[in-house]
Symmetry: D2
Subunit: 332 residues, 4 copies
């Protein structure tokens, strides 16, 4: 239930109402946008129709969105996430780039250099890798995170890395500025709940067979556990077309921005699985309104330990950065 509060309702009374509702076992979230103040009240099937008659309450907002906190019915202004001074979702484009896996200190430094020199702000790199085969390279673990953090510091970059297990969250938060949830863990609800208790932004990738609603409900797990800093990411879904690794659902970008206030990124590397499709699909994602891109870059893509076929090299990345930043004025 979403409640719009009267413009002249005293803050103290609102506070009391919230306390009373929480005391009754309900989940209550409050948002203020200019003169508008709203409550999302979620919980047991209590009859709350009497609320409509309170002087505090202007009206009950009809809403069919089951993702109460992630939904645009509750919060109309876009969420802007500030990571150490860098703003995500404020109308500018944010590019995250780096290798699939952190392979060595040298490699991640070389990546960081490419990323920084071309104007991107956030360095990605996996230390715990969700590989289909148990016999594939599983990542360097904490050692990789140390390399990542040092390389990022050297080049003035922020960091993002994937977390696969509730047991690893604490470790990750020491090294990464943003915690990534991979597609395969999008409905790992234990992980989502714990990330909701964390202070770092969460980069939530859409599962391979997740609907928009599934993705927003996954975000809701994080939001309702207390963490409002969630970034959504379209990274391709599974369809019958097997020429590409996945089918990148570009429409997800404007639709998620309509349904929700959260920033929406696109990952054309996983979205297509094809190196030479990263550029046109980056352009398409930006044209469709993406707040940011996540790109797999490696100094020597053919030698990458993982995802080589979808990783681009320094020259291609330089071209991409020029294209997406020159084009942005026209497409927003």
């Amino acid at each position: 239930m979403i409640v719009e509060l009267s413009e002249n309702a005293p803050a103290i009374d609102i506070q009391k109402l919230i306390e009373r509702l929480k005391w009754a076992g309900l989940h209550v979230s409050f948002v203020q946008e200019g003169v508008y103040r709203r409550l999302a009240i979620i919980g047991k099937d209590i009859d709350l129709k009497y609320l409509a008659n309170l002087p505090l309450v202007k009206k009950i907002v009809p809403s069919k969105q089951p993702y109460k906190l992630a939904g645009s019915d509750f919060k109309k202004e876009r969420t802007v996430i500030n990571v150490k001074g860098h703003s995500i979702g404020d109308g500018t484009l944010t590019v995250i780039a780096g290798p699939c896996s952190i392979e060595s200190e040298e490699q991640i430094y070389a990546c960081a250099k490419i990323v920084a020199e071309n104007g991107a702000k956030i360095l990605r790199g996996g230390a715990f890798k969700p590989r289909t085969s148990p016999y594939s390279f599983q990542g360097l673990g904490e050692e990789g995170l140390i390399f990542l953090q040092k390389a990022a510091a050297e080049y003035g970059l922020l960091t993002i890395s994937e977390v696969m297990d509730t047991a690893d969250i604490e470790l990750l938060t020491q090294y990464a500025d943003i915690l990534q949830v991979g597609a395969r863990n999008m409905q790992n609800f234990s992980l989502l709940k714990r990330l909701g208790q964390c202070k770092k932004p969460v980069f939530l990738k859409r599962g391979m067979s997740a609907t928009y609603k599934d993705l927003l409900m996954a975000a809701e797990y994080i939001l309702s556990s207390g963490n409002e800093q969630v970034i959504l990411c379209e990274r391709g879904i599974r369809t019958f077309e097997d020429y590409t690794r996945n089918t990148m659902d570009i429409a997800a970008i404007p639709i998620l921005k309509e349904l929700s206030h959260l920033p929406v990124f696109a990952d054309p590397s996983h979205g297509t699985g094809l190196r030479n499709m990263v550029l046109p699909m980056s352009c398409a994602a930006v044209a469709a309104g993406a707040d940011g891109l996540m790109i797999e870059v490696h100094p020597n893509p053919d030698k990458a330990y993982s995802d080589a076929e979808q990783t681009i090299g320094p020259e291609a990345f330089a071209i991409l950065m020029k294209k997406v930043y020159s084009g942005i004025a026209n497409v927003k």
Copy 2:
């Protein structure tokens, strides 16, 4: 088999070779691009390795593309289709617009006016409608085509309309400048073969569950029957996501342009089924390299007999045209 001919091979000898191969029951197509001349030789499992030793032949081009004539291995320069002076696929953007169905003379005139005033060049309108239900409006038939042709003439537009049956091809060619094959008929091979004997360009929409290869093989039916004027169109595929009518596969655009020399259009109206997604997905398609767009426009979208939810009105169309033409310089 694709054969690159020697640069100094006399035309008369090439002609003789072609005749001999045809006499042997093979399908032979010839293409000249600057100094490059190539043959595509298709047919029975005859041992043609001896060709490599002919002085006429420079080399056998290794090609795994089963769509010999539609493929970029055979023809490297892009196909440009000239329709009464308007060029399609020459690097500029072509917009086709109009209603789903021709409903009345008045309606199609009103549509033509909107289309022309905003700078689009081709008027669409269905006279034979492939409706899921036999009880839904099935189109005005020939009467509709007469209206379409007159309205287009009035506003200096070209016309396109859908053909659903080999028996209707002759009728359609009298009224439409381009013949459309709908998604449901993409593998109606009888229809494709007959359209191959036709002199008009064919606008071939991707089937709802067609792979890139399926689409290019459908084009190959038309090309191998003698008609080289084929335009491909991405219009969304069926996936598990049901928020949208279809999932628009934007990656199909750059990939089809890589695999083939044929122009590639995008239809964001069917691709999403959602009126307010037509603009961002048009931008995305153009950013990804589309040669053109097909847009459903109606003077009063809510009153459209069919596809109302995905049809835009005059104002939205005016905005779309401005956006896609202003942005194009940056994305090509």
Copy 3:
């Protein structure tokens, strides 16, 4: 709208009502099942609520099924189709078998022998083949149909063959007892309408991306054009799983039998594309309530011109026939 007629309503009055409704431009179908008599009235948005007050009318049956004639709301007893004395859909199992393509007189005779000796009643064989590539074997045409008919006559079998074009319907009806519509033509509405004017049963295969509703609406095209003899066939849908040619949707069988009164067959050859999966999937289809099976059989499967990997040989077919007939008592 479905109307249940009073049990004592005189036939003459019902006839008059039907005529009046038809005169008003409505489509009216009548069905009698024991003492129950029902009308399906379809058409323009005329207010027919007054019908509820007629003494002829017992009640208006609430129905959300858009496939009025194919739906179980209108006709509750199962449709049994009689083909020259053989009953389809009467609770017994009907097996259709034969090669993908008719390749020669000898081949189809050899097939007919295998089919007949193992107790199947209907011989399949394609004379016009819907091949993905224009360069693949396209079928023997009328010559093939002559062979099919003669071979079937020799072994006391009925025949079924695929029709791909309205122009071929007349030819096909001379040689085949049942006309097949392939998956790629399931929404070739021109073809469906013409088949509705035909006296032969139509075997309608589910399209690769057709929902249950799409399939039943395709059947509705045939039924509403006057032909009540429609057999539905599940033959696999396109999904992300590429180990099999298609994903066979066994649930379609009991669901289509619940939604409709039409017989439902299964085609495990196309459904899986894998020779050694034809037996277990035939058993599964029968266990789920299929009225019949369509199986690709060839005297020498490895030499089949088309669909070799999914075609079984004489020994495997003999085992299959024994299994499905021994098991049937337990699964119906």
Copy 4:
């Protein structure tokens, strides 16, 4: 790499070879089936061709299966799992039944009674529920597990319950005889690795967009971590068909049994999401060769806290048990 050992190779020498390979950092698994003894050697790209020349080695078995331990190339005899005296995968049919969620002590006792009286051997019941919405009932936690264990003991049943987090494994092993991994966690690789160190059988459900290979690689994570007791379960995949909750891929059953030696179950409750489809799809699964079924049963299905529409009641379950056990002789 799979190595078949010489029949007369001394056990002591084999042991030495295994030790040497392990010392070199390779993963080595050994299997004996009658006189046949095989090694699966997995790991770094070491040149192992010299092994072919050892007297111990009979031959190198060519295998393209990436799931070395789960694959039928390594182990040809079917894996039979013994749970406190009950055999799974031995050719007989095992039925697991019970509610989606454990709701109360009374409810799970009532369920256990129904399950036991109809001859099923294993009681299911979720204590930690993976719900799409954070606001839906999340399960009773440990309290629920206590109820489950007591109810099962009362009626002589075994228990199975879902584990969602590595942190919960220890708790689950105290109460459940089999640990279930849900579809959403099929590629939660951290969870899979830890379950590999566990002594209890793992019931691994196929992810909603997992290929056969993905599922077998997920099983490989468990096997390669030391736990050989894995049961696979087909529970439906996501497709465009939305009449059913999922599309049940019955072909997965015989195919997984061909590719692997592990037992294969089917879950028609989740597979269809429709109460009245549970019976025909159970019959189909058994006919296709399933080793077992998992069925959602509740004393009062309409009142179930979760999955009510796909849960059957006591009468329907009684009919189902009779059907599947009477039919089994014919379909195996």
